[in-house]
Symmetry: C2
Subunit: 650 residues, 2 copies
């Protein structure tokens, strides 16, 4: 033990977090009591993360992948001097507090990523570690090291059971991310009982098989052993997992049982805990020795590290002004590029090709852009530049994720949280594999970008398993997510550009497999409002067709023919309902006037999202079938004549 | 080599599948050419699956997890005598054919599971192997072995990168499923290039760490070595993976490259293939020696195996009539249990508790029921009977999946496909992790059951990561899935019962964390129609409120108060939109008459699904927040007074 107050500090974290949980009548004491020594050693001896500026790019990252241990994290951030006072801790899990049930990025200083759904924190942390390697490789200079940070993760048994985590760890090993250290709180207990019921993996072998180093600490209360192991991990040339054997709920009368996992201690159990820990301080106080210890260790070291970074940055700014400017723009996602030489399209082309070409071009102007695909780059056409990200090319801005959709999406979040612009891609139907990661991006209000091709049953021959139907409905229902389904090369170009210039929500762009004509009617000023009138008949319309994506074209044709036949039909292109819903009521009324009730929505997907706007919907509420694309339009009735018929029948 | 026509047969499979793909101008020749020897050895030497009855319960299962190799599977089924003729093969990937783009269960004889999304086949196969262990343990007798089948899986690199597969394999190892053999087509090439870009896992170590046996075949064209390895695998007491080194696209001029993975051979390349393979038969013919070989090996052995099973079954029927009857009912999901002593509820109770209690009771009557949870049994209250499924208790009908939602759902499908009634459970928000598996169940038309608790922001303190919002919209949009959100203990009971008695679609039941009153107004005859009038005012209604789940109660209160105030408001309970949409137009009009346009839908979730039925929706289109439940109703406006206000404003 390096300081005589270490044990006091550990027990302070334990009692404080257990008290928060008991007061809230809600929370997970088990991990807090068991893991307190681990995070204590990490913060007092290793982590550099200045509390005066919890956003500086050079800081070490700490990720609580086992997000249900939030009380421990908040207690730790409090004693470490972050912006969380005792009142905040006492308001744990209460309405509007800064100490919500699970850690929320952007809500609480020092929280690097929103966690709770297991596996997510660990997978996102792999993104952090990749970002460090990429930025270090591109911006560090022999005489100026700006990026040299570590990512530390605290995870539990549940995290390591998640396939998501296994995908991410396999990538971390392949990329030799020696800047990643996972602290595995190994306590052999889960919510439903002992872990052996569900798991008998040999973690050492499993991680070594994935090209990790493995270390073990036999006693989770042995601060010196934990410290030695972390120091050792930091010296190894691979990602390292340290399995630390702990006792869940250590110190509580029901320690070592699943009962202490997620149930608050009673007032009586809390008193017993204090007795067992020989801890005698009033509730919701921290001994001054503990504050002092953290100030002298974590505080001092972090501040020094922060100051050094600032000095280096100043030197860098003067010596490498171009790189400095680029990096500043990159980290703030604050681009002014106006004269981008984007491709102009006039012949029919699939929107997957367009998004790919536009993205490649933009990558030259947007240094933060790091794209990748879950082994579908050649189909989705999405590829980053500067080569594949690899151990011998960390500067690469294209990531080969393999067939690991879920980890891809979490890593895209991790890249984006690190200041890069993460882009993931795949077939739209496989967005089902990674939805939860998009959701976390939406909860965190970060601008992750996903470009999914093959966005309808027009996939054709591959059949129902590869044909999205309900995915548009599901993602459009997600709060704070911009789902864009562009109708042609122009809208596809604008969709990618638009995704570059927001900082508050993720974007999903869905693209067509098949070629689509470039439409005279699509227009930018309308597009950026989410929906717009793209065809207006010569006299006042009596009908409206609303559509988007690959289906807009036939609607335009139908409306033109209807006009010739005397049925005045407006066509509204609605590439993004999310953006349209942000518009003024006046604009919405202009595009979709209440008085025009004869409305038909047309989309090759679930009808569900469209009843908000139209009483009649031509959609597909069944799974697709395997057949060549040329038969599909006819089979599902997505033809000009059928649309005309539906309008005329109203 | 055991037969001089083996090589001819392998090359027949190769040329036939490549020809199918070239003719269809779509498909994946790479795996077909590379893996033909593997499946040839499996079928001619090991697999027992009588083509005259491809559904007999004692058959070995073959799962093509790499579903993109469908052409190879169809060619194989054809030469093995299954109901696929040459015309079927020539109609590969064409509209309405029996040879769709990816293998579809229920569509093509001999296809055990719909595959295509990688990882799914392997994970479902773990369910097959678990089902065999369970059935064998419960129904085999010392003098009558009914269940003794193997499950063989052909998978590729992509399958093993999927976290889903890793979750399932970890479980398979924990359960020591020695009846599972995975044939790993290891060719070092993926769609986007060499596998090393994304993977450097040591597969041997990784699987051994998960308690598997690992075998290797160095040359994928060495039929004897493949045969020896499979024989060895069948003798080991663990699940076994056999890594078989193959050359993707073997025999094609572009073999060994990613170009041959998913692009049909040109007519010229197809000719080159034949030359390279020294194969000289007309297109779409099979040499009679090959038919003969399969008839003499696969056909003869399988028929003998089938006949033996039938003899045993006859003996079993006579000697063990009770077990025989139970098993017959089980395998046909054909229960007549009428006098089930179900709990009666009158005090407020959460629907999670009710579904748990009802399910436990039903398990006594429905021998096929095998339930389980992704480490949330104690929160979701769903637990099977007869103890935990384990190596020393394969008869256990509760499965501890650990925190592996995705594998759980695929295994539930596997159990259900095997004749059991698989039930999975967890928090509703984590349905995001497993959606694709539910989707495959829906595509396959199988009655998998998922019971998800904590179905709204009423989760409370756990906050946005644990609070579903858009999940109801997403799943309701899925074709052929019954989403049921019961309003009280009665509807919850009926929901579980209903899920027992269908064989054509999966069911998702979502339940409340909080207690709900037992409502006088809920009724069975209405419930089974998906939606029904559950409160009718004393005079003709001018307004309708549509609701379900935990939100129905306050709507009823509001309607009663409105009635007293002279606003006649009908309340419709809509536990299942899926079932309601199946009703006659007359019934729908009865419940929701067109003339009553003043309608309000009320649900604590996305508003999206409700605009089909109501122009006004009280829902939640934002993420939840961490706070105690008692503040939630007020915060989101789910109060009687607010609902009345919304009705009165119309």
């Amino acid at each position: 033990m390096k300081n005589k107050y270490d044990t006091l500090a550990v027990n302070t974290l334990r009692v404080l977090s257990a008290s928060m949980i008991t007061k809230a009548k809600s929370g997970h004491p088990g991990i807090c009591l068991g893991s307190a020594p681990i995070v204590h050693v990490l913060f007092t001896e290793f982590l550099n993360n200045y509390s005066g500026n919890s956003k500086w790019p050079g800081r070490d990252r700490f990720v609580l992948s086992a997000g249900h241990g939030s009380a421990l994290l908040y207690a730790l951030l409090h004693v470490s001097g972050f912006d969380l006072n005792m009142e905040d801790l006492m308001a744990f899990r209460q309405k509007g507090s800064r100490t919500p049930g699970h850690p929320e990025y952007g809500h609480t200083a020092g929280v690097e990523v929103t966690t709770g759904p297991l596996g997510q924190g660990l997978a996102t942390a792999v993104g952090f570690a990749m970002a460090e390697k990429n930025l270090a490789s591109r911006y560090n200079k022999p005489d100026a090291t700006l990026f040299d940070y570590k990512t530390y993760v605290l995870c539990g048994d549940g995290d390591l059971q998640e396939g998501l985590a296994m995908e991410a760890c396999s990538l971390a090993g392949n990329f030799k991310l020696d800047n990643l250290v996972v602290l595995f709180d190994s306590n052999d207990i889960q919510l439903d009982g002992p872990t052996y019921k569900a798991t008998s993996d040999n973690i050492k072998l499993k991680f070594e098989a994935m090209n990790w180093s493995y270390l073990k600490v036999e006693d989770g209360n042995d601060l010196v052993a934990i410290s030695k192991a972390i120091a050792k991990a930091n010296s190894l040339d691979k990602p390292t997992i340290i399995e630390i054997k702990t006792i869940i709920g250590y110190g509580a009368s029901n320690q070592g049982t699943s009962a202490v996992h997620g149930k608050p201690l009673t007032a009586e159990q809390l008193e017993e805990l204090k007795v067992n820990l020989d801890y005698h301080y009033p509730e919701f106080t921290v001994p001054s020795e503990v504050y002092d210890l953290y100030a002298q260790t974590f505080g001092k070291r972090s501040k020094a590290s922060y100051d050094k970074y600032q000095d280096t940055l100043q030197y860098y700014k003067e010596k490498y002004p171009n790189e400095y400017n680029e990096l500043t723009i990159l980290l703030n996602n604050n681009y002014q590029a106006k004269d981008i030489d984007l491709p102009i399209y006039d012949s029919p082309i699939s929107t997957r090709k367009v998004t790919g070409q536009v993205l490649s071009k933009l990558a030259e102007y947007y240094p933060g852009l790091v794209a990748g695909s879950a082994d579908l780059a050649s189909s989705c056409m999405i590829k980053g530049i500067a080569g594949d990200f690899a151990y011998d090319n960390y500067a690469g801005r294209n990531v080969c994720y393999g067939v690991r959709e879920h980890a891809m999406a979490s890593i895209v979040n991790g890249l984006t949280l690190s200041g890069l612009k993460g882009v993931g891609s795949g077939f739209f139907v496989f967005s089902d594999y990674l939805k939860d990661s998009i959701r976390l991006g939406a909860i965190m209000h970060i601008p992750s970008l996903f470009i999914f091709s093959h966005d309808s049953v027009c996939v054709g021959e591959d059949g129902p398993t590869h044909e999205p139907v309900e995915q548009l409905a599901g993602l459009r229902a997600m709060p704070n997510l911009n789902v864009v389904r562009p109708a042609d090369a122009k809208e596809a170009t604008w969709a990618v550009l638009g995704a570059m210039h927001n900082n508050t929500y993720p974007t999903v762009i869905t693209t067509s497999r098949q070629d689509l004509p470039v439409l005279a009617e699509t227009n930018y000023l309308g597009f950026i409002k989410g929906a717009y009138i793209c065809f207006e008949p010569k006299t006042e319309p009596t009908h409206i067709i609303i559509s988007c994506g690959s289906d807009l074209n036939i609607c335009l044709q139908a409306a033109k023919e209807l006009e010739a036949e005397g049925v005045m039909t407006r066509v509204v292109s609605m590439p993004s309902e999310f953006i349209f819903r942000m518009q003024t009521e006046e604009y919405k009324e202009l595009v979709l006037p209440h008085k025009i009730t004869k409305r038909l929505a047309v989309e090759m997907g679930s009808t569900q999202p469209w009843y908000r706007y139209a009483s009649n919907v031509l959609g597909i509420d069944d799974f697709g079938q395997s057949m060549p694309i040329k038969q599909i339009y006819e089979f599902y009735g997505f033809t000009t004549s059928h649309i005309k018929e539906l309008i005329e029948k109203m």
